[in-house]
């Protein structure tokens, strides 16, 4: 167990694993997302109430779902950074934050565009939308704070604390549709219940969620590799890697 933990903390070991994993994540992710979106756009039946505008759900829900998941993953990593001082955890937080920012923006944007034909307004200051906007600012804050501090260790600690404080926003986002009156519809997927939509709608939705998850995995691996290279460029293994005496098949020659 402890040996595994040690390995997990080793940037070199992670770099190699990531290189081997990434082609699978990319191909499977694109396949799932592509299948889900084509199915959702062209083949799923139209909604009896919302018409065709509901097809935005196939990108809105996956990106909103991922935006929150990524934050929870970052918070777990932040905890590891604070407790065990594991370098890779901090690398993950830095690699994932910009991805989370983009996903949150996509979910807000697609939500606004979906809101116009459905609710008659682009934006309202209700609980779900506002807490999602706060998530966007949290991601922005994490990125800004990391850039503002030059010392790597102080930056890691400050960012970890900010991420952990911000995690209080996640249950607020999740339960906002139950706690307050809102225009936003309740969750599509619940762990305990069958989805309220027919299978021709929720299967493609699930496919796009899985696809986007896999693509996030690919992005996280790639961006973590970048951060690792930047931090470890003076070490022996990176020099051996770039000169070809160590090969992790593909990516790096």
């Amino acid at each position: 167990m402890w040996q595994f933990f040690h390995k997990l903390g080793s940037p070199k070991w992670f770099y190699g694993i990531a290189t081997r994993l990434m082609p699978w994540l990319l191909v499977l992710g694109l396949l799932c997302l592509g299948a889900g979106l084509v199915w959702g756009l062209a083949f799923a039946p139209k909604d009896y109430l919302q018409g065709n505008s509901y097809r935005i759900i196939f990108i809105h829900v996956p990106s909103a779902f991922l935006a929150q998941s990524v934050y929870i993953m970052m918070a777990s990593a932040a905890l590891v950074t604070l407790v065990w001082r594991m370098k890779l955890a901090d690398v993950f937080v830095k690699a994932a934050a910009p991805v989370g920012l983009v996903l949150t923006f996509i979910s807000l944007f697609t939500g606004a565009v979906w809101g116009k034909p459905t609710w008659g307004t682009w934006w309202i200051w209700d609980a779900r939308l506002t807490s999602m906007l706060i998530l966007l600012f949290l991601y922005g804050g994490v990125i800004a704070l990391d850039r503002a501090i030059n010392d790597e260790k102080s930056a890691a600690r400050a960012v970890a604390v900010l991420v952990l404080v911000g995690v209080v926003n996640i249950p607020i986002i999740k339960y906002s549709v139950d706690w307050w009156n809102t225009l936003h519809q309740p969750a599509t997927f619940k762990l305990t219940e069958k989805p309220s939509m027919p299978a021709e709608m929720w299967v493609p939705l699930l496919l796009s969620v899985i696809g986007l998850y896999l693509l996030f995995g690919w992005l996280a691996c790639l961006r973590m590799q970048t951060e690792i290279l930047l931090r470890e460029q003076r070490t022996r293994w990176v020099q051996e890697l770039v000169h070809g005496s160590v090969s992790f098949n593909g990516g790096a020659r």
Binding site: R55, I59, F105, P117, D146, L219, L229, V242, H243
Partner: protein, 82 residues
């Protein structure tokens, strides 16, 4: 197919602009993020290679592509933090 024709697929009974705008933004941002991240990793790999080439005590192989970099004296490549 949920639509009778390709035209109907594009207009989506009036909801076309909303649906397509959402998908366009999604694809655009994801593509920028993915291609950008990929390019940046490769750029960092390249800069590591040049770094190592200019600092390595071993003489670079004459036919390797790091040779020109080795003749440049000690260039520090600054890469942004994102």
């Amino acid at each position: 197919m949920a639509f009778d024709s390709f035209g109907a697929f594009l207009t989506m009974e009036g909801h076309g602009p909303y649906v397509w705008a959402s998908y366009a933004v999604f694809f655009l941002l994801m593509a920028v993020l993915m291609i950008g991240s990929y390019r940046r990793r490769n750029a960092v790999l390249q800069s590591c290679r040049q770094h190592a080439g200019s600092r390595s005590p071993r003489a670079p192989k004459p036919d390797s592509d790091t040779a020109p970099a080795a003749t440049a004296s000690f260039t520090r490549v600054d890469v942004s933090q994102d």
